[in-house]
Symmetry: C2
Subunit: 296 residues, 2 copies
Amino acid sequence: MQLDTTVDLSSYIIAPDPQAPRLTRSVEGVDQNGQPTEISVVEERPLTIFLNGQEIVTAMTIGDYPEYLALGFLRNQGMLRPDETVHRVDYDEDLETVVVRTDGQTTYEEKLKKKTRTSGCAVGTVFGDMMEGLEQVTLPDLQVKTSDLYALASTINRTPSLYLEAGAIHGTVLCKDHLPLVYMEDVGRHNAVDKIAGWMFSDGVSPDDKVLYTTGRLTSEMVIKTALMGIPVLASRSGFTAWGVEIARQVGLTLIGRMRGQRFVCLSGEDRLLRDADPSAVPDDDKKHRRKGAPT
Amino acid sequence: MQLDTTVDLSSYIIAPDPQAPRLTRSVEGVDQNGQPTEISVVEERPLTIFLNGQEIVTAMTIGDYPEYLALGFLRNQGMLRPDETVHRVDYDEDLETVVVRTDGQTTYEEKLKKKTRTSGCAVGTVFGDMMEGLEQVTLPDLQVKTSDLYALASTINRTPSLYLEAGAIHGTVLCKDHLPLVYMEDVGRHNAVDKIAGWMFSDGVSPDDKVLYTTGRLTSEMVIKTALMGIPVLASRSGFTAWGVEIARQVGLTLIGRMRGQRFVCLSGEDRLLRDADPSAVPDDDKKHRRKGAPT
């Protein structure tokens, strides 16, 4: 992709791999003129996550980084404590399973009881669990330059991705200053966040100086996940929900949305922003890279 | 909204009500220039669904049509049989609960067991249940004029909606021929579909001659829900996933995606299309009404 030459990808520890054969498939169809056409579509496969002997969940995922997805899901659901010792993670591609093995007891039995009540939650997670522990959250001080936010949005939108290749996929990026570090994509919005959480958990990465950028909407669940991960800033090119804003204000999360070209709106945690950029100097979204109908 | 005057809404049995005070909230923030700004954001609230005495699920929803949401969710999860007699649906706004009361026994105990295993599924539903019954699905023959599809897309995109008002919301529309009938929106994509299923269930509406239009991606779950509802055609302006296409082909569902202006791709069930329209005569998406970053 010609984009490669126009954007600096050197800061990425993990970047999307749009050419990976396992993640997309070429499918034949017919276009509006009745002509045969072949388009690239993203894969979507079940992955069943086990915690020790216990089957926890079956997630629909694109299939990359299953170990990070499993660790991040269990961590974000509170089934793995921050200090939990994970001594093995076994992924079996044929069985489409990941088994996370910990030392000693975990809290999953108790969690599973709750899951029975809230399972099938329309926003795709165990909501009863998610609200838990929010009271204890204290997010770190961090000064975020608006010039860095503009630089991030520009780099991320121009980074070769499965979205640009095949569409119909969500993206979430862990960032520091003006540098994107880990860019995960998935058919399930929350999988992309969970994969980042799994990577942070296994590498012991601090959330204190990080910014989370997502292509998705800033719903209550996205805000809660980001806060529980300890990341003080959440930015998106998409919009807000009222409860997402409310929770962000409660926990003191900096919430920035509708970020397109020079425009953005900050609805919470304004105090973390250092307004060093001149918005009028920021170019509009490049048409070629504009995320039309971006998943949220 | 000036749109009102430019689009014929007479066919709608249920249309979005973007002015409904309970569905959006005006929130104050700061824009890119540091100026105070006020934007309209969609509400998002929990709704707990009971089937008789049993708590089934807590869904995050915008909050309109709770009765249809509850009925449609239970129906789409297979917890209500098509012939089930529902003798009361009680919604309590303060308690944020809906109780669906049926005559005699339902299958929910058995279903709940499955939910324990699959809850938290990353695409937001009880996947183990969803696959069930797909083998028995036989979708009706139906001839769909491409001229009707173009007319639907144009009318729907220009219909005053919460999306156009506040963004960050999903839309799904039940249609017949060139006429949109029921247009539901929700923060959870599946809620919009479930609300339509609930309306069809309670009014005994036949799916045989209907087309389902969604703003969202054509994932396996959307395809499965549409097929289980018995609707033969699913169209979207968004993209596909590989498994969504695979399942559509298995059950013989007509699957149309990437529908923008004159363009679309049909990846399954091409035989139902009657190509009576000249695509080159179809205008491009009107910039003002184009769904930028449409939720999927």
